[in-house]
């Protein structure tokens, strides 16, 4: 498991809607059509200044190395926390901040 990658601008204009892209290396083994043990992420959650922004529930049809693009409206300087949670409870966390500029 490498460190998840998050592409997000360092600064934004007040009121701007910014694009955020994420990628985590993960095999997402469903064990439906192989003898490998199941190894799946359960949920991806993003908060902005502590408030829910975006989330995704993973089911079997989610591809290996899950990647997402989504958006956030920046009204003020914002602290983002990105958390990937495995079905076994393990979490992977990335933090980023966007300043007004």
């Amino acid at each position: 498991m490498s460190t998840p990658r998050v592409l997000i601008p360092d600064t934004a204009a007040a009121g701007e809607v910014i694009q955020i892209r994420t990628l985590i290396d993960h095999p997402m083994i469903t064990a439906v059509s192989s003898d490998l043990p199941r190894d799946m992420l359960d949920r991806f959650e993003v908060t902005m200044n502590g408030e829910p922004l975006f989330a995704y529930d993973f089911y079997n049809g989610s591809a290996e190395n899950p990647t997402f693009t989504f958006f956030a409206r920046i009204d003020a300087a914002a602290d983002f926390v990105f958390v990937w949670t495995h079905e076994d409870g393990e979490t992977f966390t990335v933090e980023r901040s966007v300043a007004i500029g």
Binding site: V17, P27, M28, I29, T30, A31, V32, S33, S34, L36, M48, E51, P52, L53, F54, A55, Y56, D57, F58, Y59, N60, G61, S62, A63, E64, P66, T67, F68, T69, F70, F71, A72, R73
Partner: protein
Amino acid sequence: MQMDRRTLMKGATAVVTLSLVTIPAARAETGAGVDASVEGILNGRTPSETGLTLDMPSVADNGAQVPLTITVDSPMTDDDHVTAIHIIATDNPVPEIGTFHLTPRSGKAEVFTRIRAADSQQILVFAELSGGDVLQAAAEVIVSIGGCTT
């Protein structure tokens, strides 16, 4: 409510997995699984077929990594925004692909991810709105190499 449905889905996953191992003809039951998944999302509501766009290639060389973009025509305000977007496969061993959760803070109702498609099939998407309405869109994808290898 959401957690209950999710728990149900996880249970359904286990049943489908077992039947695939023991009964080769289990694939024929896939349709019923799709119907149950869709009914679970709609919860008695009739979906509208406007305002929701599913952008996906019509031909996917690799079913293990099929890119899709979903866009909803929504102002994404506190009073009128998308709360959830569900992706359903009509011919995967397990119909549920994933569920997005959005908020007014999203600012724009557009999301991108990559999915697995076991075979050529129709992909369904449903968007739930804060006012209680639900939107539906669908697209066909032809898969050259199936995406269910793990």
